[in-house]
Symmetry: C2
């Protein structure tokens, strides 16, 4: 890291929502000296005090009116609250403030903020592709974003300066950055994240308690993400409904194909289907 | 481990099929001093020589007529060859020889061996619930079975002595042993192993090469097992066809339920489905 890389980019960074993602953003920003001070903002000061004690943030604030002026605000609240939180927080910020987010859906958030833009500041949507089935800043990890991909979703109103700064921020957390339209992001994530989550949940729900002890590593890995919070995921599904339903229907069609081939004794077809999955998954191992 | 635990149980142990499971059985048996000598049996001596060099087995044999008399033979060949291999190997063994297997389906194998029993020795079906998406003795691991479950499937012809010895063998590899009928085993494994495999393969097949870079940890874990060998898995599916097809149909029905609820805007129903999966998967984490 050159000396210019380690200079703070910002005087004040606010992270709104100290869950797993927000907590990790704060921890990574602190660890990498991205801002002179990092402020955590959320609804419960009592619950957040631990994040100060753990060194994730310098200070916590539980009311928007008490927020100090910031150069960058990262909104990492649940996806169905992000657009409102961006507007609410922007009101108390300087005109030059930038806002970004960590939401795993983008089109609904960006559309809401295009239709009713924040009165101050400028918003550039983002989604760091990193996470875990765990929630809460207690599981925050300063290295969560290291070498992962951040998708940034500028639109026609995004200025070059704002885009460069927000992209620079995610890079400073260790991420590689990719630009995409919000709609493209949502179609891709429906497949790579939202569909596997619902599939894992559907599989997990099929396991009765008395058969748990027969669930070995294969079942455990395949269903791991299903332990994620049902409310958070319901909000994600609601905000990316059609792309997700389309992907589910494709999966249902492949699975129905398996079932029909198996019942019809067409194991050559089963082999073809399995081989397709094997090839695709092996390619992924190589990347 | 008491001194009686470390005494060899057998003079000669034969492991037929030095794949991941056979190689790991041999390695674990050697490491734990289960037999005075461990012989690997397979079709290609050249390929197996490396297993001798790696210390997994004492010796390899590539023709059934050259097999030495053994006290126990573990048949760990592909599931659709196990019954034939058991009969073939038993012919050259002493009457007192015991045979067990490592196949992930049991009813078809046990039925075949009930209908056409080996001319010598006695067979007790088994399935160590441990494995990996990798194949070959090169990935063998002497600790693969440590603290895992082995299902043993005796039937009405199994003598108590044979059952105790075979169960004792799997325990000596570090496993906990559970008895079950072969048919019950297959119904349970259809859910806990075979269904997740097909689901992972179906999901993996849905990922086009240009979207690979967006597949983060959730997608990777959920599809990991799909990298397993398509031929091996086709044989498993063929030998456990109806229980597997039944489980697929249940999953299809749950996924169709998600899709219908999402398209109909019934996100309360989506939340219920997700919550069911979350509860079940969280319970599993606690075990």
């Amino acid at each position: 890291m050159s000396s210019s890389d380690s200079k703070p980019m910002f005087s004040t960074l606010v992270v709104a929502g100290l869950g797993l993602i927000g907590g990790s953003v704060a921890a990574a920003a602190k660890a990498r000296g991205v801002a002179e001070r990092v402020i955590g903002f959320g609804r419960s000061a009592a619950r957040m005090q631990g994040a100060v004690d753990a060194g994730l943030v310098d200070e916590v604030v539980d009311a928007v009116v008490r927020l100090p002026a910031a150069d960058l605000v990262v909104v990492a609240t649940p996806v169905d609250r992000i657009a409102d939180d961006v507007r609410r927080i922007a009101e108390v910020m300087p005109d030059s403030c930038l806002l970004t987010d960590g939401g795993s859906v983008k089109e609904a958030i960006c559309r809401s903020l295009r239709e009713a833009p924040p009165q101050k500041g400028m918003f550039v949507g983002a989604h760091p592709l990193a996470g875990s089935e765990r929630s809460g800043w207690e599981h925050a990890d300063a290295n969560l974003f290291e070498d992962k991909l951040a998708v940034v979703t500028p639109d026609e109103r995004t200025t070059d300066d704002a885009l460069m700064t927000v992209e620079g921020f995610w890079k400073r957390l260790g991420m590689r950055v990719v630009r995409m339209s919000a709609a493209d992001h949502d179609r891709v994530l429906a497949l790579t994240s939202h569909l596997p989550h619902l599939t894992a949940a559907a599989l997990a729900a099929q396991l009765p308690e008395d058969l748990q002890k027969y669930a070995a590593r294969g079942f455990r890995d395949t269903t791991r993400v299903a332990a994620g919070d049902a409310d958070l995921w319901t909000a994600i599904v609601r905000l990316n409904a059609v792309p997700i339903a389309d992907r589910i229907d494709e999966l249902v069609s492949t699975l129905a194909n398996y079932s029909t081939s198996i019942r019809g004794g067409d194991f050559e077809r089963v082999r073809e289907l399995l081989f397709e999955g094997q090839q695709s998954r092996t390619r992924l191992n190589e990347n």
